[in-house]
């Protein structure tokens, strides 16, 4: 199974017509290919994730491009093909529950099985009920279901007609964390079991980590980066991606000053702060942005600053309790930079760190992100 998407879709300002050549309000321009895998579409709201789904499912017609699933052409501007929604064999779970409120769970699931004979329809229904552990809900109406149960039924309904592609648009965003985690594990297992290509929309970083084989990062209607979790997390291609993956310590004022062959690192000057980062193929003088994830800042007992090892003097500005972790904001006094770190709570306690204290922070060279 392979899916190729390459589409453009323009939305104009409300009240302006296409003919008048009005300013484009939003332009979706996306191109990617996928196999039998789970791809997370990750981006802020308004980045075009749902619009992309609407184009793939046929709810919205793109302006240009093509969409093929295996050898089946869903859409192709060139040969003027736009397969009706009903003929595209895909499953779609919406963000809000779209269970038909006047039908019970059984009828909802059977909706997509109209061309099946009675026997196989019954068998498929039972399979779906047991696959999602909702056997006891068969006779209930959607108003008698909890949010998590509703989305389980929605998944069963989407999977029942054996779709060749599954689209999930933030299906769990309104659920409690516990149920969400449970369902996300379920999705991950289902994808492995059923071996169907699955696209999952989210703007929640946690869900990206839990789910993704690969991540497609969308921003402003464009693909910013398409890669594995590791690639996205440690090699963000640009500022948009870096911000989206929660890289809160970002600096764009660095310049390459040299390379250190022995430690295989590149030396940057970020303002008046010397910092070593994993080796870059850049020439001295080139500008570069760098950042470090809050988890990758470590604290050392007071001592001497050693810029060659990325160890700096710092003052603790604030410590915020975040359950098992603490968020510490520090000032690198000599370099006019502020960093936020996330450190296990017991570690902070053992160091007896308090707001106003001096300390040393270390930025692990291998964990520094540049782009």
């Amino acid at each position: 199974m392979s899916i190729k998407v390459n589409i453009r879709k323009c939305y104009h300002e409300a009240g302006s017509s296409k003919k008048s050549g009005a300013k484009k309000a939003f332009m979706l321009n996306v191109s990617f290919e996928m196999e039998n895998e789970l791809i997370v579409l990750f981006g802020p709201s308004g980045s075009g994730k749902t619009t992309l789904f609407k184009c793939i499912s046929g709810i919205t017609e793109p302006d240009d491009g093509n969409i093929t699933v295996d050898s089946k052409v869903y859409y192709d501007k060139k040969i003027k093909t736009n397969l009706p929604i009903q003929k595209r064999n895909l499953g779609y779970v919406f963000q809000s529950s779209t269970l038909f409120p006047h039908m019970d769970v059984r009828k909802n699931i059977e909706c997509g099985l109209k061309n099946w004979n009675k026997e196989s329809r019954e068998k498929r229904l039972m399979e779906m009920l047991s696959l999602l552990h909702i056997e006891e809900l068969e006779k209930r109406h959607p108003s008698q279901l909890s949010g998590g149960q509703k989305q389980r039924v929605a998944l069963a309904r989407a999977l029942a007609p054996e779709p060749e592609l599954l689209l999930l648009d933030e299906p769990f965003s309104a659920l409690d964390k516990e149920i969400k985690t449970e369902l996300i594990e379920k999705i991950k297992n289902l994808q492995h079991e059923l071996k169907i290509p699955l696209l999952f929309i989210t703007h929640n970083l946690e869900e990206v980590f839990m789910l993704a084989d690969r991540v497609l990062v969308l921003h402003g209607g464009k693909v910013q980066q398409f890669g594995t979790l590791d690639e996205i997390f440690y090699h963000p291609k640009n500022l948009h991606v870096a911000k989206l993956i929660g890289l809160s310590n970002l600096f764009d004022d660095a310049r390459v000053v040299g390379h250190d062959e022995i430690s295989r690192s590149t030396i940057l000057m970020s303002g008046d702060m010397k910092i070593r980062v994993p080796s870059l193929k850049l020439n001295p003088g080139d500008m570069v942005s760098w950042g470090v994830h809050p988890e990758n800042i470590t604290f050392l007992p007071p001592g001497h600053e050693d810029q060659d090892k990325n160890i700096y003097m710092a003052h603790v500005v604030s410590i915020i309790n975040k359950g098992p972790k603490k968020k510490i904001t520090v000032n690198l006094a000599r370099h006019h930079k502020t960093l936020t770190a996330e450190v296990p709570a017991q570690f902070v306690d053992s160091l007896k760190l308090n707001a106003g204290d001096s300390c040393l922070v270390k930025l692990e060279i291998s964990k520094i992100v540049t782009f």
């Binding site: 929604i85 009903q86 779609y92 919406f94 909706c111 061309n115 007609p161």
Partner: protein, 227 residues
């Protein structure tokens, strides 16, 4: 002077016959129009909506006048009917159906359209994705979910058809035993000083109106408690 049973019974039966047939036609065409207005965009949609709503605010005599122009011997539709049936439609109870239909259609279209527009479009998309055609989806999802609005529209249309006076009088006249509906009979009984007959018919119409209001109220409240 006691009113003869027939004097009471005929207006009631002709009124119900007219109102029932008109309401049936209003239900079929009104729901169709409401669906089209709610779910489709086409050129001239606003004009069409305006024309259908117009009878709601036009004085009934003006509606009657327009219908006479259309359906009379020299009217476009009147000529057509004459050429097919060899007889005119004016001053028949069928003309009364047309009058009742015209004035009550907007009530159905307005109420049903609002109800259909309130159905979440994502539910329809979900049905399309499951392979249901637009017509299947309309009958399986959209209309059942807009049921309350459609029922309310039906009750309102029926009540309006029962009470119709001005346009009916101009179109089907006041022929005793042929086209004298309740409203018209009340008027002529009152004119003739036959208060007993007027009283009975007024009582029937008042009761009917009360029932309609109670019915629409019930439909609305049942909907609320369901959600």
């Amino acid at each position: 002077m006691t009113p003869m049973l027939d004097q009471i019974w005929f207006p009631i039966s002709i009124t119900f016959r007219i109102a029932a047939i008109s309401s049936f036609l209003v239900l079929c065409s009104g729901v169709f129009l409401a669906y089209i207005f709610a779910r489709r965009d086409f050129r001239g949609k606003e004009l069409a909506e305006l024309l259908i709503t117009l009878p709601l605010i036009l004085p009934p005599t003006v509606i009657g006048y327009f219908l006479v122009i259309l359906l009379g011997k020299n009217g476009f539709i009147g000529q057509l009917i004459y050429s097919i049936t060899g007889t005119g439609i004016m001053f028949t109870w069928q003309a009364g159906v047309i009058a009742a239909y015209t004035v009550s259609l907007p009530l159905m279209v307005r109420t049903a359209q609002a109800a259909i527009e309130a159905v979440d479009k994502e539910l329809e998309y979900a049905a399309y994705i499951l392979g249901k055609s637009e017509i299947e989806t309309a009958f399986l999802i959209t209309l059942p979910l807009a049921k309350r609005g459609i029922l309310a529209g039906l009750v309102l249309s029926f009540a309006r058809a029962v009470g119709e006076f001005g346009a009916t009088l101009m179109l089907s006249g006041n022929i005793p035993g042929k086209t004298n509906t309740m409203s018209i009979s009340i008027y002529s009984a009152f004119q003739a000083g036959n208060n007993e007959l007027a009283n009975v018919l007024v009582l029937v119409l008042t009761l009917m109106s009360l029932i309609s209001i109670a019915l629409t109220g019930k439909i609305a409240s049942r909907g609320k408690s369901k959600v």
